[in-house]
Amino acid sequence: VRPTPSAPDPVAAEIEAALASHPALEGCAALIRKDRTGTGRVVCYVVFRRGQHATVSDLRRYVKSRGDGSRRAPSNFITLERLPRAGDGAVDYDALPDPFGVGDDHVAPRTPTEATIAEAWKETLGLPRVSVHDNFFDIGGHSLLAVRVVTKLDKLLGVRLSQAIMVLRTLEQIAAECDRQRG
């Protein structure tokens, strides 16, 4: 179960207010989010003015400098193109991305093609399970094993994949490419 964001608590609101006056920022929002371990962490979402940038170290220093030094420092910063807004123009905190969960959850294969590829990966890598969000190389694959998988999938699906697709894409994306090639 993923923690859901709520309206900013007073600590986050104070940090958001301090950060808002940074000259490089067009907008910002701050939330307390729970990470996987259940620890609450101050996450700041920032939108930079065109041509302006600042490192997270400088942003953190800036927040600390705008007070008596007792303020809790933000842990993480996420750069956005724009802040999500609700109908009334206020920041939609529920729509802000979760840096502790996105794309990391295990998702079992959902289509026959995904299942075939997953079986080939599991067999080749000796893993009990793979997620559709996994990348072959990230979970232990290397070039020679990739060649084996490509050959196997050629036999099973009649699709000849390039080595590059194995390097760059996730299982889900590779399955979509296979389906596309098979028409």
């Binding site: 996987r36 170290s57 400088d58 993480n76 290397h142």
Partner: protein, 265 residues
């Protein structure tokens, strides 16, 4: 994972922070220090996988690019060994801030290991130092790179002026200036001062008496040093037609186990 720029806004360093991906987290951050040049290319995938496994073991993890390398600011001609050492110190501070932890372990591969020893050997917030196939002698390392690169150099002489302080010669993907070469020339891992009690693991992919002897050298100054040989692929400088990555999983698992055991949570 959370990509970020840290350090000064004028010369930002690129890093990726991986929060713990486990229900029970450890109050410890692990900083991964890349090797250089061709070795960086070969190690990139291994480091991604390494970070993933560490985060699944409950660690906060950060990997980053040194100044003048990868996606960080600066180019090869501006980089210095001293700056890279400072970058490691800066990355440790950023990891502590991002993760909200006070204790850190540092893992460095090849030159990254040697630089890590210089950068954090005397910090009191670093409890574990893992030197993975570390460069023992900067002088020998440069000679090795030059030897590997010799064929290419003879085939196509570089236009760079070796007398200029910032003239860059690309050696195995490693832009080496005279001042970098000079700094590496004087770098000897056995001569690096490490604080007493620092838990230090020297882990190698092939048996090496010289690496093994570091345990005694460091141990003599009170360092809690140990040695581990995990026979696996270790040719970090190899260049093949596919630009293949090297992912020695046995060593990666061994280091994850070592850190899990030492941090004991």
């Amino acid at each position: 994972m959370n990509p970020l720029y840290f350090g000064t806004s004028e010369e930002p360093l690129f890093g990726v922070y991986h929060p713990p991906h486990a229900e029970i987290g450890r109050e410890v951050g692990v900083l991964l220090c890349y090797p250089m040049g061709q070795e960086y290319m070969r190690a990139h995938r291994a480091f991604r996988q390494f970070a993933l496994l560490l985060s699944r073991a409950g660690f906060h993890v950060m990997r980053f690019d040194y100044f003048g390398t990868g996606d960080s600011a600066g180019d090869g001609s501006e980089a210095t060994v001293e700056r890279w050492v400072e970058d490691i110190a800066c990355a440790i501070d950023e990891l502590k801030d991002s993760a909200g932890v006070e204790r850190v372990a540092v893992v460095g591969l090849r030159l990254g290991g040697t630089l890590a020893a210089v950068a954090c050997g005397n910090r009191d917030d670093v409890d574990q130092l893992v030197l993975w196939d570390p460069i023992l002698s900067g002088k020998q390392y440069v000679a090795e790179l030059m030897r590997e690169h010799a064929g290419e150099v003879f085939a196509e002489p570089t236009a760079a002026d070796p007398e200029k302080e910032t003239a860059t010669v690309g050696v195995m993907g490693f832009p080496i200036t005279r001042r970098i070469r000079r700094a590496l020339w004087g770098l000897e891992l056995a001569g690096v001062s490490l604080r007493g009690g620092l838990q230090t693991l020297i882990v190698v992919s092939a048996e090496s008496e010289r690496h093994r002897s570091l345990v005694e050298t460091f141990g003599n100054s009170g360092v809690d040093a140990s040695f581990l040989c995990v026979a696996s692929e270790g040719n970090w400088n190899e260049v093949d037609d596919f630009g293949s990555a090297l992912i020695p999983q046995a060593i990666i698992r061994a280091i994850v186990n070592y850190l899990s055991e030492k941090t004991g949570q």
